[in-house]
Structure formats: C-alpha cells, structure tokens
C-alpha cells in the first residue's frame, strides 16, 4: 500500500515537473518583474541565451516553413529574450551565445516549434552551472490584429509578451535561490571555466553528487596564480562574447524591417485565408445540404413542396459554386503566403550567411588562441609541479 502511494506520488511529481505548456496572450504584455531586493554584484548571474534551434528536424516540404527564415529567426529571437531579461535588471550580463561551449551561470536554450505572423511557439529549457533545471516549458502566443498596428509595431515585437513571460519565469526561479546559492553558481562557473583551460590544475575542485548536481569540493586560494591567469583569460572570453553581440545586433537591425513586414503581411494573408476557408467550408456544407433537401422535396407529391425543392436545389447549387470559388480564392492567399516567404528568404539569406561566416571566423580564431593558451597553461602547471617536486629530496638525501 505504501509502495503504491509512493509510486502515485512519484508519478504526480513527474507529471508536475515534466514539460508544461503555457499560452500567452499577446494583447496584454506582462510587465517585466523586477527583483524585490537589489542583489550584490557577486550574486548577479550571467546568462547565456544560446542561438535557438530553428526546429527544422521534422520539417516537411508541404509545410509553409522557409528554412533560411527559420535560421534567421533562431538568431533574432534569442536577442529579444536576452533584451527582455537584461531590461528586468535581475541579471548580470545577458548575452546571445553561439554555442554551449561558452561557460555561463545560466544557459537558456530554445527551440522554435512554430513561427509565422500569427502564432509563435517556443520550447525553452534553462539550466544553471550546477546542472539544475530551472525551466522546461513550451510557450505559445497568438498575435492579435493590434500587434501589427503601426503604433504598436514600432514599440515592441508582436510577440513581446512571450519574451516577458519567459524572462519573468526565470526571474522568479532566481528569486527562489538564496544569495549563497547564487554565489555558489558563480563560483562553479568560474571553476568550470578554469577546468576547461587547465584540467590538470582544476580537476579536483568540482564534483557531482548522486543527483548529478555539480558541487564545489574545495576552493583554490584567492591569490592562486593559476586562477589569476584563468581570470585574465576569462575577461578576454567575455570580451569575445561581447564582440559577438555586435554581430547579432547588426544582423537583427538588418533583418528587422523586412522580417516584421513579412510577419505583418503573412498575418493578414493567413487571417484572410482562414476566413475564406471557413466561408468556403460553410457554403459547401450548406449547398450540399440544400441540394439534398431539394432532391428529397422534389420527389414529393405536393406541388408546392416540389417547387420549394427546385428552389433549394438551385440555391444549393449557388452555394456550392460560391464555396468552390472561395476555395479557389483561398488558394490565391496560399500562393501569396508562399510568395512572401520566398521573397523574405531571398532577402535575408545573404545576411544569415554573412552572420554565420563572421561568427565562425571569429570563433575559429578565438579557439585557436584558446588552444595555445591551454598548452601554455599545461606547461606552466608542469613547471610549477617541477618547482615543488625537488623539495622532498632535500629532507631525504
């Protein structure tokens, strides 16, 4: 009985903690929640928002998905989320990062499940440096027609609500941590960074507990020369990430106007398409029903019923014709959507390629430098060990 209860409780817990969905109203953008207390700088967590997964793995040809547009969105949307988080004042530096090799206090990953002018669906997962999960949730938002009004459009993104909601969820998670826990996360990040550059010197400082959560086993001295070197390198690493932000910012600026225009027009086309499809469906059903009723009435013995039946058949015929016409008209909107998507794709593809090239080139140069520093740090560690090794021989000639 106890086992059954435990199993039930575990099942309930799994259900509660498993990925959840939230539908966000875009017409009411929630305000950014600000921290209740000003945290000391040592407890401000740096956040890395990884370039989103464009969600093209299960992409099928008949879906109206334009791969290059998705790739561009995968670089554009993280920036909006990063800005929302930064604007909340709850975090240290919030940056878009190109790969999860970057060591950050909190890593936010996102996957674009669906994106067009009408609907945006994002799956967000966030973990801190300890490996603790903060968020695993799917957010969905439908744009209202007001989202594309000229006054609204210049103020914020049509789906700003989704970014504010995510930022608020993460801020609430952070609020639930004590200052000591936050400082611990920052320390773990530093030691992880140190270990990635000098595993020989920093391997023993971190360990994983039974739940797979990273913990600090021991601390290096504050004035440990190796840690000083690592800190100097880390400052450079942060400078590199900051430089990348310029690239993402420039790309977003170039993409902004055509992309938002595409969203607006595709929203209008999608709404028109849905209305026509609904009307077409209604007319076809009503027309079919009227014809059937007319045929039934035409077989009646009463003259008036037969006349009414004929009228119903003619009326049903008109409705059917209208329904078919609406369906054909809807096809025009489908083609228009296709045309809009392809047009945007042609416009932004060179920018996506340029951003990718610049990011890869800069990352490549940086990685090359890092490899050299790793070798040097390994040599320094060996030299330091060489300094210490002869000491016992003095005591034991």
């Amino acid at each position: 009985m106890t086992t059954a209860r435990l199993a039930l409780a575990a099942l309930l817990l799994v259900t509660l903690t498993a990925c959840v969905n939230q539908t966000v109203k875009t017409s009411a953008v929630p305000p950014l929640e600000r921290p209740t207390e000003v945290a000391p700088e040592t407890a401000l967590l740096d956040v890395g928002v990884l370039v989103f997964d464009p969600g093209l793995d299960e992409y099928e040809e008949d879906q109206q998905i334009y791969p290059e547009v998705r790739k561009a969105e995968a670089r554009f949307m993280p920036r909006l989320l990063a800005e929302a988080m930064q604007n909340s004042g709850a975090w240290g530096a919030v940056r878009v990062i190109p790969s999860d090799r970057q060591t950050v206090d909190l890593l936010v990953r996102g996957r674009i499940v669906h994106s067009d002018g009408e609907t945006l669906e994002l799956h967000i997962v966030a973990r801190d440096a300890r490996g603790a999960e903060w968020l695993d949730k799917t957010y969905e938002a439908n744009a209202s027609k007001y989202a594309y009004a000229p006054t609204t459009r210049t103020s914020y993104d049509p789906f700003q609500a989704i970014y504010h909601t995510i930022a608020n969820d993460l801020a609430r998670q952070q609020e639930s941590l004590t200052l000591a826990q936050r400082e611990d996360i920052r320390l773990i990040t530093e030691l992880q960074f140190a270990r990635s550059f000098s595993p020989e010197a920093f391997d023993g400082y971190l360990s994983e507990n039974r739940k797979g959560v990273v913990e600090v086993s021991r601390l290096p001295a504050d004035d440990d020369p190796m840690l000083e070197r690592i800190r100097s390198i880390r400052e450079r690493d942060q400078l590199f990430v900051d430089t990348l932000q310029e690239h993402y910012g420039y790309f977003s600026g170039e993409m902004q106007v055509p992309y938002q225009e595409w969203r607006k027009m595709s929203y209008e086309e999608a709404i028109a398409l849905q209305e026509l499809q609904a009307e077409s469906r209604r007319n076809l059903i009503a027309g079919g029903a009227a014809i059937l009723a007319g045929i039934y009435a035409a077989g009646s013995s009463e003259r008036s019923s037969r006349a009414a039946g004929n009228v119903a058949i003619i009326g049903g015929g008109y409705l059917l014709k209208s329904g078919l016409e609406k369906r054909a008209e809807a096809q025009i909107h489908v083609a228009a959507l296709e045309e809009l998507g392809m047009s945007l794709e042609a416009e932004i593809t060179p920018q996506v390629i340029e951003l990718e090239d610049r990011t890869v080139m800069l990352s490549g140069n940086v990685e090359e430098q890092y490899a050299q520093w790793r070798e040097l740090l390994a040599d320094i560690y060996q030299a330091e060990v060489g300094l210490l090794e002869p000491l016992p021989t003095v005591d034991n000639p």
Binding site: N87, Y156, A221, D223, D242, Y250, G253, W373
Partner: protein, 203 residues
Amino acid sequence: MRDNPTLDPGTLAALEAAMEAAAQGGNAGTGEGAGTGSETGAASGQWPGDTQGSSPGNAGAGTGPLTPAEQVAILDARLEAGAGDFDTMILEEQARQRSARRASSDDTPASESAGGAPAGGREGPYGEDITVAGAGGGRGSVNTPGRSAPANTARYPAPDDIPSGNDDDVVARQLREAAMREPDPAVREKLWDEYRKYKGLTP
C-alpha cells in the same frame, strides 16, 4: 577549504629575472626568448617541460638552466603576448564592425530611417528601457554592461619620460605591460628601468 598558494614567494622576483632573460634574448637578436603571439603555440609545443636549458627562452640568453620559477615567468610572458594578440584581434574586429555599421547607415535611405523602427533605446510602455532588437543596427552593446577591455591591461600610467610605445617590439611591450600592471611602486620602477634600458632611453 581554500588551497594555499603554491608559488607565492619569489614569483615577482622570478618575473623580473625572466624579463631580464627575455630582454637579453631580444638584445642578442634571436627573439626566440620572447616569442610572439603567432609563434606561441609552436614554441610551447617545442618545450615539453624541459628544464635543462634547451627551452627557447634560455637558448636566446645563452645562460645556465632556468629555474622552474623562471620557466613559469617566461611562459607567463608568452601568455601575455597571446593576450596582446587576442586584444588586437578583438579590436580589429570591433573596428570592422564600426565601419560596417557606418557603411550600413550611409546606405540607409532617408525614407526608411524616417518611417522604420526607432533607432536605439527608449522608454518602454512598462516603464523599462527597451531597446528594440537591432533597431538601428549593431547596437549589441545593450547586453554588455560596462565591459570594454580586460581590466588588467593597464592599471598604472607610464611615467612622463616614457614614449607612446607605438614602435615597441614584443619584448618592450611585455615590459611595458608588466610595469603598467605592477602594484608595487619599487618593482614597477625597476621594470620601467628595464624598459628604458631595453629601448636605449637615457634615464
């Protein structure tokens, strides 16, 4: 729980010794002792923990075997040289970004800039400062509060008699950077003396 530092005593003195050795290597005309950013990786690969005087830093000086502290100091100097190259690379990238931004803003039609998205920051509808993503292009620094360059590059200004350093070679640059970082005034002055000696400046 904190570890005790392992290399505190003598580190500063070793740095000075290594700097001198590096400077002598540079004067000897070999240049190997100092290395450059591009040589760093290859140079470190040539020296797998060798302590018998075959390291590049020692070869240039033509003196006896280096102590571990001297080895560390020389490796530190290479690390610094790499950091200098890294900073140069980042600065060049930032300069490229600035010129691309300028070119882009020159190309932007007047009508677009008038009717398009607002450029830069503004007061958001919820009282927060919102910067529309990319509006105006290249304003990525919104996410980078107060970080322009590594803080340890130059903490103490150079004395008045020290020239700008535009023509510094690698050894001179290392000496200059070490001096500008050095908190101890006495050691700092020694490092500047080394710099003057190396550059042939009359004190």
